[in-house]
């Protein structure tokens, strides 16, 4: 039995250029779009949130001042809403309606299921050396959390943002004190989103040992088979049962492309960390409401 295992591992070591497709070009485009808009929104939003501090004023000056940064914030917000609507329509077209429950609750879907709770429990045990790490399928529970956090956070920010953009219209439809609530929710949800992305998402994407210096999956679109076998053996097993692995092989990214996305990724990381650190430093000057 040992021989077989040895053989298998040798095979995997040899197949270093075998890769599995993980994200389609459209998925990557959504992520890129979200990266750019999210960073602009956080920078312009922070410049207004921290306006009472010197740093906030300086940050606002980058975007042309207190008022202009609001204009940018509104426009980029509208683009994000359009992106959200397009993404939702795209999602609906991707659901295989013919085998409806399976396609939505199956392993290729980002909808959380019971396995995620099991994986979380296994992983918490693994942290303290009480068991083996869970064998993830295509999406891990924290990736699903990432996705749904954005997916529900975006409409909340959009609705409250629209309310604040058109206060008079809002006060026709709702009582005026709903603007108090809208401002509170917009601010607190933005703080939640930025702190989650700039601390946890960045750590998972860049700093955790298996990703360091950068998890390239979202830019390259594919990951090495080895990596998938290490963390997501159930996915590889499922793929090989469904058909030959060759079908999902994809080319490694070209060198120039890797250089581009490393530079871009690190620039985005630097922006986020800059905002995070300064936000923490000046957090005494702001309140959630």
């Amino acid at each position: 039995m040992n021989d077989v295992m040895t053989n298998a591992m040798t095979m995997t070591q040899e197949m270093t250029n075998a890769r599995i497709k993980r994200f389609s070009p459209v998925d990557r485009l959504y992520h890129l779009f979200l990266m750019l808009t999210f960073l602009i929104q956080s920078a312009t939003g922070f410049s207004r949130l921290f306006f009472t501090t010197f740093w906030g004023k300086q940050l606002g000056n980058v975007f042309g001042g207190y008022d202009t940064s609001l204009t940018i914030h509104k426009w980029v917000g509208v683009f994000m809403m359009i992106g959200f609507v397009i993404h939702t329509i795209h999602l609906l077209t991707r659901v295989q309606w013919r085998n409806f429950p399976q396609s939505v609750f199956g392993p290729d879907s980002l909808v959380p299921n019971f396995n995620d709770a099991r994986h979380l429990w296994q992983r918490l045990r693994w942290f303290f050396g009480l068991g083996s790490p869970p064998k993830f399928d295509r999406w891990t529970y924290w990736e699903k959390f990432d996705y749904w956090a954005v997916y529900w956070g975006l409409p909340l920010l959009a609705v409250t943002g629209l309310m604040l953009m058109y206060p008079l219209l809002t006060s026709h439809l709702l009582p005026g004190w709903s603007l108090n609530i809208a401002l509170l929710l917009h601010r607190a949800e933005a703080v939640l989103a930025t702190s989650y992305i700039f601390i946890i998402h960045f750590f998972i994407g860049h700093l955790r040992p298996t990703s360091f210096p950068m998890n390239e999956a979202m830019f390259a679109g594919s990951i090495p088979l080895e990596e998938a076998l290490e963390e997501r053996p159930d996915w590889v097993a499922r793929l090989s049962q469904e058909g030959p692995l060759e079908l999902v092989n994809s080319k490694p990214p070209a060198l120039w492309y890797r250089v581009v996305y490393f530079v871009f990724g690190y620039a985005a990381l630097a922006c986020g960390v800059y905002l995070l650190i300064n936000g923490i430093i000046h957090s005494g000057a702001v309140r959630l409401h």
Binding site: N2, V4, M5, T6, N7, A8, M9, T10, M11, T12, E14, F51, W126, F127, G129, L130, G131, S132, P133, K135, W142, F145, A149, P167, L168, S171, H172, P175, G176, W177, N180, I181, L183, L184, L185, A188, V191, L192, S195, Y196, I199, I200, F203, I204, L207, R208, P209, T210, L229, E230, P233, V236, A237, S240, Q241, P244, L245, E246, L288, H289
Partner: protein, 276 residues
Amino acid sequence: MMLQVLISPNFAVAQEEVASALRRYKDREVSTGYYEEYEVLPGRQRSPNLVPSLRRGVLPLSRTAARVRIRTRLADSHQGIKFYSVLRCEYCHVEQTKDIHTVRANLTCRQCHGREPISGIQFAFSPMNPIRRHSYVCAKCHEGASVSFATYVVHEPAAGSLTAKNDFPILYYSYWFIFLLLAGTLAFFIPHTFLVGVRELIRKVKKPKKDGERHDIGDGDQEVKPADIIRGDEPDDRRQDEQDAKQEDIERSDARDERRDDERDDDDPRDDKRTD
């Protein structure tokens, strides 16, 4: 008597106190029939503003205390305060200087509350009275402000406080909902992510043995199914020379592994222990 008439201030504006603004409003409406066209009825859209009430706190205010503390219906809400002329608003109204209108828009108190005497917000003729606040105060900057718009609470209470729970419960519950969500998410995911980092670092430092076995509990998947990844039966579309190179590599590494197996049988005590 003439003198008294001359020096006393305007009767209607400054001195009259109305027990109920609502009663006065209804009287006027009934008598004219078209009052509503000129002044908009606040109706149900009342602002959850912080009007001190007798029921505030654990014990209700005494009659005397109420006369001193509750000044929302007075024509001059500061009447009787000692040395009033040398005080500044923010000496007493500390919390009211921290809201967006003051901090962001740099408004001063007087730009909304007007000159002395500053009447209570429920005084019948106060510009701040909810029946006309939108047009007399808000619309100075927010053109087209409606009654509903004027129910926006400018001096909002601290959202998590018990004051807010009393006066503006929706704000209070929204605050605690979003705050617990924020704190809970970070409180779970920050330690979680940190532990992931530590655990993966340990795994990376202690590399698995070359034979593919993990020797420590919790160091990865011990049951990789070879059937899942061997792909021998599929058509090979690589160039001929690539295939050859690959084949040689596999053979070479097989030989290498056999050699290593032999070595390990001799001198690796840990492995022996494990097979025991």
